[in-house]
Amino acid sequence: MRTESNHPTTLVPPLHGEGRGPHAVDPLDEVRDLVRACMQCGTCTASCPNAASMDLTPRQMWRSLLFGFTDEVLRSKTFWMCSACYTCTLRCPRGLQLTRAMAALKRLAAQHGPGAARRKGIFYQAFIDNVHKYGRVQEMDLMFHYFMAMRDPLLPLRFTPVGMKLLAKGKLHAPDGRHKGVLDDLFTRVRELEGNP
């Protein structure tokens, strides 16, 4: 699993965040707090429908996280493969909110992770931008902006058959602008509140 040599050898998580101010913390600390009580039973891995598509299993990822391997965790694709089915959360004998931890990792990797990780966050960001702009999700506009942001000419082809089917059923339409701007105040407030935890 480890290929580089600059990893901490102690069990104490390394300090990150220099230059982020006097109260700086490791960006993954909030996730560590969620999984601190993990006892490595592996119920999460055994329950995960997408474990086969992951590089680290969920159990391995929680351990890596607690051992302080921040970069390995941020680089892994494990949390991007979480489809939020909540089976691990339901079954975890420690009662840990593992799906919440997966979502937090997606958010933190998009902010602090390598470029490839940030690319994986594009869909989620496109989704939120769409909600912010229109108040209600406008599916066609969302996919259009997602494709534009991904800059991958082949990606839209994978969705063309479905797009054609939806079109034939009258399920695609131009964006509905009736709720535009309704969420501006809420988004502004959330941004301000998140700036002052």
């Binding site: 489809s83 089915c85 939120i128 407030r189």
Partner: protein
């Protein structure tokens, strides 16, 4: 009895048939649906990956609107993702006053506030808990006899909060389908994940999930769903998924209230069956057979009287 109704974005776009059939069935069952005026997106499964507070503030706004417009009413969300997002903000703020305060600050601009006592309900919950199989059975005019249905619950109606059903071995939809006269397929994919939004971000993984579900549906005439994302993944990506798994074969996928409407004597055009992307000939033929048979029975027993809506007899106040 009536509910504050949150249709959610999908039900106004790709899942119109879910919205229309839900409203028809509720009307037939003498239940009121009051759509929340000015509702906005709950954030679906994506917002958690961008902002933790936003993931709570978006559904909180809708609950704030519901509290203002329909105080004391339960909030009904047919989409499982919408249901979970709204339920989650109530559950997470219930014992965390600091968080509740932050969420309320985020929605204060429109003079809205969370009602900590509000109950967020899933369609299955309302049908099985408030209505019950007996009343559903009484509303059936054309039992779905001979129709094998695979009940598909998906994830977020059941997990992580086990509110109305056993999340490991769910039975609520089984019971409703039995009340409709259908034969319920006993399968082990009823509560497994369809891949959800991985269909957009990692399609191969999601297609494998869909293929596994379709192949397990086997001899069923149709799969019944209660979530627009499950429905979309199972029907719209079905052809692509069938290429992944050779054991899988095409199967119709319909929303539960569509089946309920059909069993209650509504026509396929009423429940917008033409909007579904995967309706097989096998399902259509079975429904036609059923229809013909039911007409003969109702003619013989002069069952037509039962079509008169009994709503006036039931109390509508709550």
């Amino acid at each position: 009895m009536s509910y504050a109704y949150y249709p959610g974005c999908s039900l106004t776009e790709s899942a119109q048939e879910y919205d229309v059939s839900t409203r028809l069935v509720f009307d037939r069952l003498c239940l009121g649906l009051n759509e929340i005026d000015g509702w906005t997106c709950c954030g679906a499964g994506a917002v958690d990956a961008v902002s933790g507070l936003l993931a709570l503030a978006l559904p909180a706004r809708n609950l704030g609107l519901a509290a203002k417009q329909f105080p004391g009413k339960d909030v009904l969300a047919p989409c499982s993702a919408c249901y979970l997002n709204h339920l989650k903000v109530v559950e997470q703020t219930r014992h965390d006053r600091k968080l509740a305060h932050r969420v309320n600050q985020a929605i204060a601009g429109e003079d809205l506030a969370l009602d900590p006592g509000v109950r967020v309900r899933h369609l299955l919950d309302v049908l099985v808990t408030d209505v019950g199989e007996e009343r559903i059975g009484q509303a059936v005019l054309m039992p779905l006899e001979g129709l094998v249905v695979a009940p598909y619950y998906g994830c977020q109606a059941l997990r992580p909060y086990p509110v109305f059903d056993d999340p490991e071995r769910p039975q609520s939809m089984h019971r409703i389908l039995q009340a409709l006269g259908a034969t319920v397929l006993d399968w082990d994919k009823a509560a497994t994940c369809c891949g959800a939004s991985l269909m957009a971000t990692d399609q191969d993984t999601a297609l494998r999930a869909v293929a596994g579900i379709l192949s397990a549906a086997g001899e069923a005439h149709c799969v019944a769903t209660v979530c627009p994302l499950c429905q979309m993944n199972l029907e719209a990506y079905q052809r692509q998924a069938l290429r992944v798994n050779e054991a899988a074969r095409a199967v119709a996928v319909v929303y539960l209230p569509q089946l309920m409407g059909l069993a209650m004597g509504m026509g396929p055009e009423d429940v917008l069956l033409s909007k579904n992307l995967a309706v097989t000939d096998r399902l259509s033929e079975a429904l036609d057979r059923n229809h013909a048979q039911a007409n003969i029975v109702s003619f013989r027993s002069d069952n037509h009287n039962r079509r008169v809506s009994p709503c006036s007899r039931t109390s509508s106040s709550r």
